[in-house]
Symmetry: C2
Subunit: 292 residues, 2 copies
């Protein structure tokens, strides 16, 4: 399949793994990227989410040469000021520091990054479309409808990614992750989320106590999921403003929350006391979605 | 914590990574182990399942020295003819060929392994407690009650492991995996299954067509899970002999099955067309379990 002339004109060949133009892809370290407001998106499905996102924008693409022709239609949606770097596999793998099986990477930025910390401007970023402070985020989520998903102490990238995928599947309004949960823009989390973390609004980094306190203030009804939950899921019906609160399998949820919130358990076979947290969330969200 | 004298007497120290007594743990290759009817169990929870299993028996344990004292009670349940090898971390990691974070490994065998292929003896292995041929397995599963879970073309170890964990959580009678699905005793699958693959009966290796054909002959009602399913999950009620059939996200299920079986879909938000297969299975099994 030939590459269209308009696409061919945009492509920048990279032959030297040391080329500074692909520095954003060098030895990809999630922590460093995310600290700068950036991240790496991998694969075509994730790229599609990135191109639809209002909060994130691609700053460049880095593709395996053999993949370019097949991506023609998709690449036509990449803004014209975004460079498209292309390399052969050995160069690409050497830059990234791992085998880039899919051959499709994009570096992207949060449109909010680079603003003064603390925000001298408006609290709602017009470009990003969602408020950046927790209170504003919660209020905006409450207005949208659909359950909110709240993660406390979820440090596993797979679990955080899977929670986004499941939240998106069942119409959640957004995801709030506390400061001890892993960042949803780590590469592996984005991959497991199948890119939904780029389109489903999220807030990351507030202390758990502040989240618990502000949930109710913003009109949410916290529903804590726990093997010790007082109500059976089968008895639950959805209601507006539900916030499904998830804790780690080891640590569980803050006692204050367990005392104050409605708590729910999923009934399981005798002798089994837990499910994967993202799977448990999916079971609850699926039930609330089909009961709505 | 001191080690009890009875345990101390059983411990065999390993100082040389080349020691032939720990050959089963050397550069662990799932494929080779499973071809011989063996596998490696990792971590204490998986070890507990192994010690409860009727089908599998440990042939040896290999532990990090620092873990031994804390495992005293558990190790007293290990049959007395099973050697307990102990090493310092550098030796253990060098033998295994990876960093054994948990410091707890066991090599185990299927009690059926080593019998003449084709079986000159009885088709039901008294030690193993379950029939080894597909027809017998399906009939036994049908008598037990609880849904059967059938996996076709599931090559991902995480997904297969998670399917076992979810099947066990919701009272499934067993799991059937076709020949193109990955073996549930690969180390990573056992870990994600949290050991349930050692206690929940399974049959692996029959061709998909034979499975589809024999499901009905054994009195099962196949229920194929697919985004194209004709019925909504919310309309479903459980019935005895249900066999939940799962296909890969890419390949889907055989057309013959989709035509003949009852088919069900999980309703999702617009624009989302799939869930992780193990998550989708959990949603269906949880509903059948709570509706039973």
């Amino acid at each position: 399949m030939p590459v269209s002339p308009s696409l061919a004109a945009r492509i920048v060949g990279i032959a030297d793994p040391g080329d500074p133009r692909v520095a954003d892809y060098r030895d990809i370290r999630d922590r460093d990227l995310v600290a700068r407001g950036g991240f790496i998106a991998e694969g075509t499905v994730v790229l599609d989410h990135l191109l639809r996102s209002t909060r994130f924008r691609p700053t460049s693409l880095f593709l395996l040469k053999s993949r370019v022709a097949g991506l023609d239609a998709r690449l036509s949606r990449v803004p014209p000021d975004v460079p498209i770097y292309v390399a052969e596999r050995p160069v690409m793998d050497q830059v990234a520091g791992f085998a880039v099986h899919r051959g499709v990477l994009a570096h992207a930025m949060d449109r909010r990054a680079g603003d003064a910390p603390g925000g001298t401007g408006a609290d709602t970023d017009r470009d990003a479309g969602e408020p950046r402070d927790l209170q504003g985020f919660l209020e905006s989520s409450r207005r949208k409808g659909g359950p909110l998903v709240v993660a406390i102490g979820l440090a596993n990238h797979d679990n955080v990614g899977a929670i986004f995928r499941n939240a998106a599947a069942f119409g959640a309004s957004g995801v709030v992750l506390d400061a001890t949960s892993c960042h949803p823009l780590y590469r592996k989390a984005i991959r497991v989320a199948v890119g939904t973390s780029l389109t489903l609004p999220f807030h990351h980094g507030a202390p758990a106590d502040a989240i618990v306190e502000r949930l109710e203030a913003s009109g949410h009804h916290p529903l804590a999921l726990s093997p010790r939950g007082r109500r059976r899921l089968a008895e639950m019906t959805g209601k507006p403003g539900l916030a499904l609160v998830l804790g780690s399998e080891g640590g569980g949820l803050p006692e204050r929350l367990m005392r104050r919130a409605e708590t729910v358990r999923i009934e399981m076979a005798p002798g089994i006391d837990s499910l994967n947290v993202a799977t448990a969330a999916a079971i609850v969200l699926a039930r609330l979605y089909s009961a709505a």
